[in-house]
Symmetry: C2
Subunit: 109 residues, 2 copies
């Protein structure tokens, strides 16, 4: 299992390229991040990778989970985005450029 | 289409409850966040909601995308997590408590 570790300072396009590369070869990759900045970069990287892979006819979904990892002998909680293939024509998801103008019910939290 | 808007100050458990509620009723919900802190809270909320919904036999995946939204007459780029159902027994994803101890190839970015 490949794990791509993302930091708050990681370039999201570089991470996206890595995600796309592993997805093309193995069809699955885990992206791991600790802290808000890193989780944000990881999420943006998955979005960008989704665009790259769509050009190859590969659709992706991600399943987020918490994982406990040891860093410098300290236990930290990381967010893991498990990226998996799915058929691009399965529908249901908004395309990356979806307009926010659709009719909606809003819940501010 | 229901949209749940998340801020950096949103409590992830409250957002998770809202996600789980809409998923049970409608089977699909979009979670929208602007900024690293908000994206982090939204992602954590999806993870927590996944735990809630698993107890009901509902598996979820998320498809992240960028959306342009107007806030105070300014265009901002938001991250949207489109949350969808999938069979809980479809396999492939790590469970929420997956150990990070599995054999892995690491890519630090």
């Amino acid at each position: 299992m490949d794990i791509i570790r993302v930091a708050a300072t990681s370039r999201s396009t570089a991470v996206a390229g890595a995600i796309a590369g592993v997805m093309r070869e193995q069809g699955h990759v885990d992206v791991q991040a600790i802290g808000a900045g890193a989780v944000n970069q990881a999420t943006k990287a998955v979005i960008i990778a989704r665009g790259y892979l769509e050009l190859d006819g590969i659709g992706i979904v991600c399943v987020p989970s918490f994982v406990e990892v040891m860093i410098d002998d300290q236990e930290r909680t990381a967010v893991r985005l498990s990226v998996e293939k799915r058929p691009v024509d399965s529908g249901g998801a908004s395309p990356p450029d979806a307009s926010a103008a659709e009719k909606e019910t809003s819940h501010g939290l």
